[in-house]
């Protein structure tokens, strides 16, 4: 594992059973993500982006090869250890926000801190800070159904960032948002990446997201076909 790298993937293959055969979603992936990167896995639908993110996020495991995330071998992690790793070190942002519908904005953002047994006063401060970062502190008592799509995604970002994780995985975070909201959200994430040195890995085929990436990994038919560092 390279120094400062938090994700190291080598010879990763992921197959899904289909009938009597199988479908190969990832076919020999070798990648390394360093701390504080703002990277994106881009490619057309079905190229394996989400599968790769799921394996990095310890929600799925490789069929062959190795995926080392934050010093842990994903394939060898028990479901309990994987849950602890996600709870302590990772944040997730989903295309459909996945906010808990019966919770208020405050309670949604507070949720990861509850799992970490953080005290009430610390939770309150951390939640308000996170909501300040994403500019939605005035909606603490609203429920997701009362928010716009952009607001929901900002809440989701606040929820992912509230525990200041080392790694944030964002799967098509702007797919359901208009251009203005997408830019606002990407700027927010970019600022958080700079301020907190959090590593962001996106799965996207949205040009609006691609413009913000500092590293673009092109995935086609389960293989990495390009891996570019964008310097401007």
């Amino acid at each position: 594992m390279e120094q400062n790298s938090i994700v190291t993937i080598s010879g990763l293959i992921k197959r899904f059973p289909i009938g009597k055969g199988h479908f190969t979603a990832l076919n020999g992936i070798d990648l390394t993500f360093g701390k504080g990167q703002f990277a994106g896995v881009v490619g057309p639908s079905g190229s394996g982006k989400t599968t790769l993110l799921n394996i990095i996020g310890t929600l799925d495991s490789p069929t062959e090869g190795n995926a080392n995330v934050l010093g842990q071998e994903v394939g060898k992690l028990s479901t309990k250890k994987a849950a602890v790793l996600r709870r302590q070190h990772m944040g997730f942002i989903f295309q459909t926000y996945n906010l808990l519908p019966v919770y208020t904005v405050f309670e949604n953002v507070e949720f990861p801190l509850l799992l970490l047994n953080i005290s009430r006063s610390e939770r309150k401060k951390a939640v308000m800070d996170a909501l300040d970062w994403v500019g939605i502190a005035d909606k603490v008592k609203s429920r997701p159904a009362q928010l716009s799509g952009g607001e929901c995604q900002r809440v989701a970002i606040a929820r992912a960032m509230v525990k200041k994780p080392e790694l944030v995985l964002a799967d098509e975070p702007t797919a359901n948002l208009d251009s203005e909201n997408s830019h606002h959200i990407l700027q927010t994430m970019e600022n958080l990446n700079k301020d907190l040195q959090t590593t962001f890995i996106f799965a996207t085929h949205d040009d609006k997201v691609i413009k913000y990436l500092k590293r673009k990994i092109l995935l086609e038919d389960g293989k990495v076909t390009a891996d570019d560092i964008i310097t401007n």
Binding site: L59, K80, R87, F92, F94, V102, P112, L114, L115
Partner: protein
């Protein structure tokens, strides 16, 4: 603790769905406690009344005496045995002489049991002191049911007929000295109480008795030749069996009600797990273990019962306390059923009854909540996050 906190948030957030289940469950819980409280109150009062009016603290029966076979009465009396003489004179036991007879109110004939009892006895609650009144006719006391059946009132004079030990019929005029009110049909319906010495004279059976009733505050039980000791439990067997049957019968209704409530909770749980797959996936992505998610959903279901206990307590406790003091007045005509039942039953809600019912509902609700929640442990989290039906 975390599961409790999250479950509470989820339940409150679910709104009407939660409260409908809780209200149904609270109603079932309340009805179960109320019903069993009534039965326990009835049982307690019936036991107390039967002891006071009929069985005392046990009885000695003549060896031939069979209360279910009136034809044995002629052969089931004899002289007071030596071992019971002192207890009789001390008022610890009271002898009762029983024979068959007929009463002729307004020219009608009605069969009855004629029971001779000492006017001075303090063993049972029959107002036997009334048998001491001075009258040309023989004074007798009867119960409310007997009076109603024969259309007799206090002060009425009527004819009775009986057979003496030689099986010779005889008749006399009796005067109703007292009509007493009693909740025990066995000492009332079809029975007439007369001074035991008078009955002995009428039957030509001096110093004889059919049974002895032991005073409530005395323990006896030693063997007496020719007489069978029947203890309190034996004498209460029928009543206790009937109360058990009542409880079992009532239980069927409450099992059905409980099943309906459990079905509602099971349905809610199944629906929740089906509809909230994305939420389940999100919980797992955020770092909850599958066991924690299963526990959360189980606690959510079980919390319906906890809320039902709280809601039930809010309206149930004042109502039950109020009824404990006021009592439950039985509908008119209940005393004609032939079972020992007070006009007003004062329910008894013991801690055992309440705790058992609450625990039963809590345990069943938890099991019913856990069963569908187990499915979560088999879910694929990546599909669950997307809300894919699994």
């Amino acid at each position: 603790m975390l599961s409790l906190k999250l479950a509470w948030r989820n339940l409150v957030g679910a709104g009407l769905r939660t409260w409908l289940n809780v209200i149904v469950l609270a109603f079932v819980l309340f009805m179960m406690i109320w019903h069993y409280g009534i039965l326990d109150g009835w049982n307690y009062q019936a036991n107390r009344d039967m002891q006071a009016w009929e069985v005392g603290n046990g009885q000695y029966w003549h060896q031939n005496y069979d209360p279910y076979d009136f034809f044995t009465l002629e052969e089931s009396h004899s002289k007071i045995p030596e071992p019971l003489k002192k207890a009789t004179s001390d008022g610890i036991v009271t002898p009762v002489l029983i024979t068959q007879g007929s009463v002729y109110p307004d020219g009608r004939i009605q069969s009855m049991l004629l029971k001779g009892i000492s006017p001075d006895q303090k063993v049972i609650a029959i107002p036997s002191a009334e048998l001491n009144i001075e009258s040309e006719e023989i004074p007798v006391v009867i119960g409310r049911r007997m009076a109603k059946n024969c259309k007799l009132q206090e002060g009425d004079v009527t004819t009775i007929r009986w057979r003496d030990v030689n099986r010779t019929f005889d008749a006399a005029e009796v005067k109703i000295a007292k009509v007493f009110n009693c909740n025990v049909p066995n000492v009332d319906a079809g029975q007439m109480y007369i001074h035991i010495e008078k009955l002995r004279e009428m039957m030509q059976a001096p110093d004889e008795a059919t049974m002895f009733i032991i005073r409530e505050d005395f323990e006896m039980g030693e063997a007496v030749s020719g007489w069978e000791y029947k203890d309190y439990d034996f004498l209460m067997t029928e009543m206790n069996e009937m109360m058990k049957m009542k409880k079992v019968g009532g239980s069927f209704i409450y099992v059905i009600l409980l099943l309906l409530a459990m079905l509602a909770i099971f349905d809610t749980q199944v629906l929740s797990i089906f509809r909230r797959q994305k939420e389940i996936g999100t919980y797992i992505a955020m770092g909850m273990t599958r066991r924690q998610v299963v526990s959360l959903f189980t606690v959510e279901g079980a919390m319906h019962a906890i809320l039902a206990v709280i809601i039930g307590a809010i309206y149930g406790i004042p109502f039950l306390l109020w009824q404990m003091n006021l009592g439950f007045t039985m509908p008119a005509g209940t005393d004609d059923f032939g079972i020992t039942i007070a006009e007003t039953i004062f329910p008894i809600y013991g801690a055992g009854l309440i705790l058992t019912t609450v625990l039963l509902v809590l345990i069943i609700t938890t099991i019913v909540s856990y069963m569908p929640a187990r499915k979560i442990s088999k879910m694929n989290p990546t599909d669950a996050i997307k809300g894919k039906i699994q």
